[in-house]
């Protein structure tokens, strides 16, 4: 007899709007934070000890937040919203100032992606009108724009990553026509393209060590693909789901667990090695919009957060025992 599925560790209520995006900042366990971006333009900073919202940041004029992330420490925040703007915030010493504001021009749902290139220098990819823009942070110097030649439709999701062996950064991008493209940022060209879904590709995550990724769409399946030695994307197996639609896929830092947020209100967990289904977490009463894992240094403290259209954030502790 299998164990009954776990229940949430605790639930954060009070955002008053659908939770679109979540981001943990738990480098210092004593002051672990969770950032959440709501459908009404508010960014909540939740203290995971008091389990209360420490602050609420409003800087996007009430338009829906698409993505939040931190760079460096929990003091610098990036937020992206549907008011076509991307802001960086300075949150140090109780401040809450917008230090930089970039006009993106994108009204889509595509989230940005950020990666540390050198100490204290980050590369940010964000969607612009029918192309991706890359800028360097914190200077804000534009690096390049990547515009596909063929008509692939709207950009749906991106993921920046740095391959081993000295090559420049790579970018994985999912498009509206269900295809996935691997961009070489330095050469500004697509190295490989793969049609993974018949429907628009909604989310993806990638494991730069195992060179393996997964993507989700509006169908009943999660596709997994690999990057071979010749930088070609190749389709691997798919995992069938009971209900269609995946909002987000996230791989845990230790590369053991994959989590998916589904339109069927459920969070699913898979083992990363074989994509074996491990658990179906039923708590939310509306579409689960996002799921993310914490960046605790001590993996036993690790948390998972899921946000839903039902305005609640559920916090879970799963497979932390070993």
């Amino acid at each position: 007899m299998a164990r009954p599925p776990p229940t949430p560790l605790f639930v954060l209520r009070g955002s008053g709007a659908p939770i679109n995006t979540l981001h943990f900042s738990c480098q210092e366990p004593s002051s672990a934070l969770l950032f959440s971006g709501s459908g009404k333009g508010a960014i909540h900073v939740w203290n995971l000890h008091t389990r209360r919202a420490e602050r609420v940041l409003e800087g996007h004029g009430g338009s829906s937040i698409v993505w939040v992330n931190t760079i460096g420490s929990k003091e610098t925040l990036i937020s992206q919203a549907r008011d076509k703007r991307l802001c960086t915030w300075n949150l140090s010493e109780g401040r809450s100032d917008v230090t930089q504001s970039i006009f993106t021009g994108s009204v889509g749902f595509c989230q940005g992606s950020v990666m540390e290139m050198h100490p204290q220098r980050w590369l940010l990819a964000y969607p612009a009108e029918d192309m991706e823009e890359l800028v360097e942070l914190p200077s804000g110097v534009p690096v390049c724009s990547l515009k596909p030649d063929a008509k692939l439709g709207m950009l749906m999701c991106v993921k920046l990553w740095q391959p081993d062996g000295g090559c420049g950064p790579m970018l994985l991008a999912g498009y509206e026509d269900g295809s996935l493209a691997l961009w070489d940022v330095a050469q500004r060209q697509i190295l490989s393209r793969l049609t993974t879904h018949p429907e628009p590709l909604l989310c993806l995550d990638f494991d730069p060590v195992g060179l393996r990724g997964v993507s989700g769409s509006a169908e009943r399946a999660v596709s997994s693909w690999v990057l071979d030695g010749q930088q070609n994307l190749q389709l691997r197996d798919t995992v069938e789901l009971v209900n269609p639609g995946i909002s987000q896929l996230r791989l845990r830092m230790d590369r053991r667990i994959l989590a998916s947020a589904g339109w069927d209100h459920r969070i699913r967990l898979f083992s990363w090695k074989k994509l074996k289904p491990l658990a179906v977490l039923q708590y939310h009463t509306d579409t689960a919009l996002c799921v993310t894992f914490s960046d605790h240094k001590d993996s036993r403290l690790g948390l998972m957060a899921a946000g839903s259209k039902d305005q609640r954030i559920s916090i879970w502790s799963v497979y932390n025992d070993s």
């Binding site: 299998a2 776990p6 667990i257 658990a279 039923q282």
Partner: protein, 798 residues
């Protein structure tokens, strides 16, 4: 002339020494004589005799000398010897002369003298004898030369002593037996000596010397037939298997050894060997083509182990059939075995009259055989296999036992996939389990050595995911009438599914509303077809019907029991009716109180010491502490006082029970209970037995028991084992539930006959369950008879 003289000289000298030893009281004289005799031993400081003298001594005088030595066990001179002298002049005689004579004298001596220091001495000598590898020397002495010159009596005695040494010793020495004489140790020592003798034989053969393995083979055979093959082969077979791998001489020695085993012991040797040896190749190296040459071993290997016995592991089957398949000369035997297996598998009588385990065994062997066939052979045997498959599947699928049906399906699938490489293959829907998987795996003749693949994901144990169902758009019905409507009129699969899912809950939540529509809803449910492949359709439908029968027992039970015998129902529906009746009766007979109160977890059973209560003495304090620290699993610490609740079933049992007995003997066009529909009959008898069992203590139990006994009496010799099981189950239920005095009155006429019938079944039925049930019934009957008869017997006495 020379030999003649030395013979006389030896005789004279030995006789003189013997006389001295047995009569003289002078220790010095005796020691001198012993020294002289020791001169005839092959080794040692005193050895001085020539080869011919020694030969003469060994032949004619050795046993005599040993006997004299044994006779002098208690003589004075022995006390005077130092321990070194003792070993040299006394023990050495037993360990250096011809080992066979020594063994016989030692064992005779231990057997004749009782427990004493003398016996201890001899046991010591025997231990030394075994430890010094004298048994190996004995075996080797018999291997030399073209054949053994012994008389048959001597050989038999020697074999007997060697094989049953542990038994003899245990009998004589109890309770002071030595560990070396325990059978596990002794036979592994014997295995070592076998290795030694065979090794020497191989070397001698390579040197061009003639050898005979007859004695060794006889010893092997006799050891096996006395049931010690396991201990013996455990050490011996791996050695044989390893030695024969590269050495042709070794192989020939092994083959010869096997061929020399007398027929009467062949079976136990071969059976023991097949079970221990790993893999067909090793068996072939050890046995050679014995199966072709020796009729007895052929019978055992190709008939007895496969068709008459069924206790062996699958690996034994693999070894055996693989061995038959390996060689061109043995190949025809494989075909012959396959034909025999086909015949047995497709015989309906064997399906009906042999235990399930045997059929499983047979099916494994059949599939293994088929998997070993080459394409050409397959083409040749195609027609026969096809016939076997069709006939066998028919009689397997006809069976009432799920396991047999499943075996039929799996074997059918496997055979058809082997026969038709391209064309249509059979495909059945059956539940996979260990058994079917194992059967299917038989089609792969060479399983990977390490079949257990370690799943690296195993560290992450999945949680229960059974709740992960498809989301539904529409809302489930909230009232029982909506639900009923949904089931009757809806063409919408989701609505039907939701209604079905909600039905049980709605019925239980609002019993009064459910009573208004109970019969109608039951009717709808009973006739409901699984049009939309609703997941777990049967379970949901059944749960709803059970809920209805519980909430509104009498009308629903009346309806269901009437419908059971009416026309135009499928067997499935009739079985459903029976299941629903049984399950609802079960639920009704449970106390109601338990439903409201969830059972407490075990930890809650720990009672804390009440700080308020002042314990009266220390003993109580200790007692309380022990109680508070003791966790009791399963049973709560102190059994809660049982509150009496009315048994809801008792009052309605009759409505469930009697209508089912009304018209079983009136066959209809579509339903012939006592004829071909024995599937339903088996279920009916089971259900009746259950209904009877649940009615224990109910007033109506006596009448129910009487009717049930009448009913099952007529069908107690039914050919179908499921029916017979049901009959026996019912009988047990009657014995359990019927009040004792009524039972006696009821049975009075049939009592002896019943007992005889039950005893007969307990002893001779082919089905294991039937036998156990019959045994159970006998015990119950005896118990209730005893309680009934004893008080009256006492009355008579007083």
């Amino acid at each position: 002339m020379e030999a003649q003289r030395s013979e006389t000289e030896v005789r004279l000298e030995v006789n003189r020494c013997i006389r001295t030893i047995s009569t003289s009281r002078d220790a010095v004289e005796v020691v001198a004589s012993l020294r002289t005799l020791a001169g005839y031993l092959p080794d040692g400081p005193h050895a001085r005799a020539s080869a011919s003298e020694r030969e003469e001594f060994d032949r004619a005088h050795y046993t005599m000398v040993l006997k004299v030595l044994v006779g002098g066990l208690h003589a004075d001179w022995r006390q005077r010897l130092t321990s070194a002298e003792h070993t040299e002049l006394w023990g050495a005689f037993f360990l250096q002369g011809p080992p066979d004579q020594a063994l016989l004298v030692i064992m005779d001596c231990i057997g004749t003298i009782g427990q004493s220091s003398g016996q201890d001495k001899m046991v010591d000598i025997l231990e030394l004898y075994l430890q010094n590898g004298r048994v190996g020397a004995l075996l080797w002495s018999r291997c030399q030369g073209p054949g053994s010159p012994d008389s048959p009596q001597l050989r038999e005695t020697l074999l007997g002593r060697m094989v049953s040494l542990p038994d003899l010793m245990a009998n004589r020495l109890y309770p002071h037996n030595r560990p070396l004489f325990l059978s596990a140790q002794y036979y592994s020592l014997l295995a070592q000596e076998f290795k030694f003798a065979l090794d020497k034989t191989c070397k001698a053969l390579k040197d061009g010397q003639d050898c005979s393995l007859r004695f060794v083979a006889q010893l092997l055979g006799k050891t096996c037939v006395q049931g010690h093959s396991e201990h013996l082969f455990k050490d011996l077979v791996p050695h044989l298997s390893a030695s024969t791998r590269s050495d042709m001489v070794w192989q020939r020695v092994c083959w010869r050894l096997m061929e020399d085993i007398p027929d009467r012991w062949m079976e136990s040797v071969v059976t023991g060997l097949v079970q221990v040896v790993t893999g067909p190749a090793a068996l072939a190296r050890i046995l050679g083509n014995l199966v072709v040459k020796n009729k007895k071993s052929q019978f055992v290997l190709t008939h007895k182990l496969l068709l008459l016995q069924y206790k062996y592991e699958t690996c034994v089957l693999r070894t055996l059939l693989g061995y038959l398949a390996q060689d061109r000369e043995r190949r025809p035997l494989l075909i012959q075995v396959l034909r025999a297996l086909c015949q047995a598998w497709s015989s309906s009588s064997s399906v009906r009259h042999t235990p399930v385990e045997q059929q499983l065994y047979l099916s494994r062997a059949l599939l293994l055989c088929v998997s070993l066939l080459s394409e050409a052979e397959l083409q040749e045997l195609r027609a026969e296999l096809m016939q076997c498959m069709l006939g066998g599947m028919q009689c397997h699928l006809d069976s009432n036992v799920v396991r047999i049906r499943r075996i039929g399906m799996v074997v059918g699938e496997c055979l058809s996939s082997r026969l038709n490489t391209q064309e249509a293959r059979l495909k059945f829907e059956y539940e996979q389990d260990e058994e079917t998987k194992e059967l299917v795996s038989m089609m792969d003749p060479f399983p990977p050595e390490d079949a257990v693949l370690t799943d690296s994901d195993d560290e992450l144990t999945p949680y229960d995911m059974s709740d992960d169902r498809e989301m539904t758009k529409s809302a489930p019905p909230r009232y029982i009438r909506d639900c009923l409507e949904g089931l009757i009129f809806s063409e919408d699969p989701t609505r039907v599914e939701l209604s079905l899912q909600a039905a049980e809950g709605l019925v239980r939540k609002n019993p009064s509303a459910a009573r208004e529509v109970s019969v109608e809803l039951t009717k709808v449910l009973l006739h409901l077809e699984d049009k939309y492949s609703t997941p777990s359709f049967l379970a949901l439908r059944q749960a709803a019907m059970v809920a209805l029968a519980v909430v509104d027992s009498i009308p629903v039970a009346e309806y269901l029991t009437t419908e059971f015998y009416s026309v135009n129902y499928s067997l499935r529906q009739r079985m459903d009716i029976l299941e629903v009746l049984a399950l609802s009766a079960q639920e009704l007979s449970k106390p109601i109180a338990e439903q409201g109160r969830p059972s407490l977890p075990p930890s809650a059973a720990v009672t804390l010491v009440d700080p308020q209560s002042v314990p009266s003495n220390w003993r109580q304090v200790v007692e309380q502490r022990i109680q508070s620290k003791t966790r009791r699993f399963g049973k709560s610490g102190a059994p809660a006082p049982v509150t009496a609740t009315p048994n809801r079933y008792a009052s309605v049992a009759g409505f469930f029970f009697f209508p089912l007995l009304q018209s079983y003997d009136r066959p209809q066009v579509t339903f012939d209970l006592l004829g071909s529909d024995h599937l339903v009959l088996g279920r009916l008898v089971h259900t009746l037995g259950l209904l009877m069992h649940l009615a224990v203590n109910a007033p109506v139990a006596t009448q129910m028991g009487r009717s049930l006994l009448d009913f099952v009496w007529a069908i107690r010799y039914h050919t179908d084992q499921v029916v017979r099981q049901g009959v026996l189950f019912s009988v047990c239920a009657v014995f359990l539930s019927m009040p004792g005095q009524c039972l006696l009155a009821e049975l009075s006429d049939h009592l002896l006959e019943t007992r005889a019938w039950l005893a007969d079944v307990a002893e001779g039925d082919a089905d294991a369950d039937c036998r156990t049930l019959a045994m159970q019934a006998l015990v119950l009957l005896d118990k209730s008879l005893r309680t009934q008869l004893e008080p009256s017997a006492l009355d008579l006495k007083s």
